[in-house]
């Protein structure tokens, strides 16, 4: 190639790359417009006071506001009740390092309004571990050493108990109340499992280096991060989904160089939230990681160069993601809460 042709090729390449980026920017902007009015996201992030606080923002990142603003405490793990009228979270002593694996066992359970108003501490330190909402928001399911306990929130009494059958962290109750998902020692550790909430019958959803599961709104599918085998070295954690029966597992989003955690669906299941963190674990020990929004119809999607990942998933689409602020464990409601405050 002559020098003149080489220069021309570089110019054309740069223009095409610019056009590609521009098109990508347009798609991201369109996504932002599409989700802007669709309710609220709650998440934990470092406040101006340096501690972990809870924040609300619109799904396009606008109207962000600190709803706890407690310089003497750390807060995280927030979950809207299914109807969006309550917020459940954990409050930790100031300076507590929030463990990405143990946070559900740490600190106090708190319940507040969806905008953080009127927070009430439920029980003492480390009580009601891994609390998650029942469909009607009147009960919580907790994961304890003794087993899975269903607690009536009004009386704070255990109304039902099931053996935990090897589940050891990250228990979540399905929106229809029929199932639990969690992380268990089944045939091997770090296995995502589903448990029948009535019978206690357990089935494997995804084995091997999978954790932090959560439910799709249909209660039939589960979203979870997974770090598959066969990657070079330590590998990277991708976001996956599967039927609750363990069938049809497939990647939602992956990006070599980043560990994807915090997977959660919009209430209609059309959009997915996640965090992308260069360090494994999701960033709760530090300052979280950028929260991202993607359309589920875009899945499976890959971002960045991700050469190795693209070889494994040659049919994956180019990811169109809206990257928001740094945070941890986001949760989405379509309820209109505290608008204009």
């Amino acid at each position: 190639m002559t020098p003149r042709r080489a220069i021309w090729a570089l110019v054309v390449g740069a223009v095409l790359a610019g056009a590609g980026l521009g098109a990508q920017d347009d798609r991201v902007a369109q996504l932002a417009r599409e989700v802007a009015g669709k309710g609220w996201i709650v998440y934990a992030a470092r406040g101006d006071n340096g501690t972990w606080d809870l924040f609300l923002m619109r799904p396009d990142g606008s109207e962000r506001r600190n709803i706890t603003n407690t310089p003497d405490f750390e807060e995280g793990g927030a979950r809207f009740s299914p109807d969006g009228t309550q917020l459940l979270y954990r409050r930790f002593a100031k300076g507590t390092v929030i463990s990405h694996d143990l946070w559900g066992f740490q600190g106090n359970l708190m319940i507040a309004g969806p905008d953080g108003a009127n927070p009430v501490q439920i029980g003492g330190d480390r009580e009601f571990p891994w609390a998650s909402w029942s469909p009607d928001g009147k009960q919580i399911a907790c994961l304890t050493q003794k087993g899975i306990q269903i607690v009536d929130l009004q009386t704070k009494t255990v109304v039902r108990e099931l053996p935990r059958k090897g589940i050891y962290q990250q228990l979540f109750w399905s929106p229809d109340g029929q199932w639990f998902c969690g992380v268990a020692n089944a045939r091997i550790m770090w296995t995502v499992v589903r448990m029948n909430a009535q019978t206690g019958e357990l089935n494997i959803v995804q084995e091997f280096q999978s954790c932090t599961p959560d439910w799709f709104p249909d209660s039939r599918h589960i979203i979870f991060p997974s770090r598959p085998a066969g990657q070079d070295g330590y590998g990277f954690t991708q976001l996956w989904m599967s039927g609750g029966d363990g069938q049809g597992a497939r990647m939602i989003y992956g990006e070599d160089g980043y560990h994807i955690y915090g997977g959660a669906l919009s209430p209609d299941g059309k959009y997915v939230l996640f965090t992308r963190c260069a360090k494994d674990g999701g960033g709760s020990e530090d300052s979280g990681a950028p929260i991202c929004v993607m359309r589920m119809e875009n899945a499976p999607a890959i971002a960045g160069a991700s050469e190795a990942l693209r070889k494994v998933h040659p049919d994956a689409k180019e990811a169109v993601t809206l990257q928001l602020v740094e945070g941890w464990e986001p949760c989405w409601t379509y309820a209109e809460i505290g608008v204009g405050k």
Binding site: D101, F105, Q106, G166, Y168, Q169, N185, R187, M189, W190
Partner: protein, 155 residues
């Protein structure tokens, strides 16, 4: 006569030495291992299946196979038991952390053939919530013990 006296003297010296030996205190046993947990055994580490993972990001217990040499406390039905050790790549003296606070011992490294005096509980699920590497899963149905305190012992 001189020979008899010499024999008598030597006998007295031997007796004295023997008595002195008997009155020496036995090697002290760590009270942690004699009081913690509900079961206490001396056992030889027979097998470690799989590699001991040393990953500071994740905690786990690794199940190891032991031959029981002596039961000091509690009831152990079998000669061969399976014991879960928490984060076994760590020395026992520094292994306690936020997830598992009440464990320890003086074993620095797990090596097949070593003899350990252990305070234990059973089953592991009643005393530990976390990942378990159990390479005997599906092969052995015996309950897995949970190692509370693990000290070296004489072979």
């Amino acid at each position: 006569m001189k020979a008899v006296s010499t024999v008598l003297l030597l006998s007295l010296v031997w007796l004295g030495a023997s008595c002195a030996k008997k009155t020496q205190p036995a090697a002290a046993v760590d009270p942690n291992v004699t009081t913690r947990g509900s079961i206490e055994v001396t056992a030889r580490l027979e097998e470690i299946r799989g590699d001991l993972i040393d990953d500071p990001m994740y905690d786990y217990a690794h199940v190891m196979k032991y031959k029981v040499l002596q039961v000091h406390r509690g009831k152990v039905d079998k000669d061969v038991i399976y014991v879960g050790h928490y984060n076994p790549a760590e020395p026992r003296g520094s292994v306690a952390d936020a997830r598992v606070q009440e464990i320890g011992g003086n074993v620095k490294q797990f090596r097949v053939g070593d003899v350990h005096r252990m305070a234990m509980e059973v089953p592991i699920d009643d005393h530990y919530m976390g990942g378990v590497i159990n390479k005997y899963f599906g092969e052995v149905n015996d309950p897995v013990y949970w190692a509370v305190w693990t000290d070296r012992a004489e072979k």
